[in-house]
Symmetry: C2
DNA sequence: GTCTATAGCCCGATAGAC
DNA sequence: GTCTATCGGGCTATAGAC
């Protein structure tokens, strides 16, 4: 078999895989996750059930593939925004708002994603070993948020801040799952208020009276962060 | 049919139901939730599959019944503790530690509970309409925590504080699902540190410079609390 | 009217032929 | 790499026992 043949085989496989994923996402957002059967996905995509399972070992893997796609999409959108905004408050709010933009088209089945993400054994869990790469990239993004901000930040805090902001962002994403308002309006309000609050707190962290509280917060972060404590958690 | 007959019938039904639930919980914690089949539960309990489904409309309902049992158990244990402790810090920590005690025996399948609890449609979701009663009772418990504490608390904050503490407690319970340390040691550490931090912040909320931040926090709480905003969220 | 048993549907997942 | 056939398990319909 010539290299060219094997290449076009691979290409064909990728197209088939892409086709199955796209079809699945359409059906998920049209009918919901539970309601969409693997048989329906396969039929709609014009392949057999066996083929669908050849590319995606389980129905959950379809959701995972979609999620990984989103992480990259969001990083691009967020970095574009960070070029323009320089205040901490606007940078925090902006990154979170672009996250909402990215998630919006598939809000219909976000509960299915959340259900998987909450399971400690699932690769979709934001704290899992399998998510290491996605998590690192996401935290790096928050590092840029902090680095590029014009505000002065207390140096002890500066080191931990990206992970703390990432954790907050995970919380807000979780909140948005429950948000049934048009265009995630309520979550967007929460984002603006939270960015206001967070930027104030970060600036306050340098004040002399705040020392003990700051130390305590950093201590909690250090002891409790599950994604750093290794296999036992 | 005499009333006595119908009473003993009902009794028998209750015993059967209890028997099925107990058997299910044993199997869940021995083999895990996913691994335990309804057929196995029915066989172990000495009833038919149909009978099991007569008492529990779905496998998830078994988990729900167990959860409701825990809520009551915890309220009793917590109130006993509140008799003894009078400082805010110890009251917060104590209520959370008793919560851990209550959850401990079934930690093995807590991920299965979390998966259901995270789903906006599930009655187990802490913010759902079906959870209204359990939620109200849980918030009432936190109200006792605040009321019975010897510390002075700023009056604007005092009104919102029980719900805020309840929300924090939900977060800590979620954290404990991921905690694989012996006896939830890491979560218990987090609880002690969090109680320290929270009691400090609550006391600080009265300081003059903190005014704008306090107002902002209360605003966020008011706008974002999903369990109060009615059917649209 | 309260409870139990059986047979079988549906769908996620797998085995194995080609 | 794709297919068909089949399995396992959650769940249901329904017929009856008491």
């Amino acid at each position: 078999m010539s290299p060219r043949d094997s290449l076009s085989r691979t290409r064909k496989g990728e197209r088939t895989k892409e086709n199955i994923l796209t079809t699945a996402l359409e059906l998920f957002s049209k009918d919901g996750y539970e309601e969409t059967t693997m048989r329906a996905i396969a039929e709609s995509a014009g392949v057999s059930v066996g083929s669908a399972y050849y590319y995606f070992p389980s129905k959950e893997h379809l959701v995972q593939a979609y999620y990984m796609r989103l992480v990259k999409e969001h990083a691009d959108a967020a970095r574009e925004l960070l070029e323009k905004e320089k205040t901490l408050r606007r940078r925090i709010a902006g990154v979170l708002q672009t996250k909402m933009d990215t998630l919006e088209p598939y809000h219909r089945f976000s509960p299915a994603i959340a259900r998987q993400g909450i399971d400690p054994e699932s690769p979709l869990n934001p704290f899992s070993n399998e998510s290491y790469e996605a998590r690192t990239e996401a935290i790096a993004l928050w590092e840029e948020v902090v680095e590029g901000a014009r505000e002065r930040i207390h140096k002890d805090l500066r080191k931990e801040l990206p992970e703390m902001l990432w954790l907050c962002s995970e919380g807000i994403v979780l909140y948005s799952v429950y948000d049934r308002t048009e265009g995630r309006e309520r979550t967007r309000q929460l984002i603006d208020d939270s960015a206001d609050l967070l930027s104030r707190l970060i600036k306050m962290a340098g004040l002399p009276l705040i020392g003990p509280v700051r130390k305590l917060v950093l201590r909690i972060m250090k002891n409790a962060a599950p994604w750093r404590v290794g296999p036992q958690l």
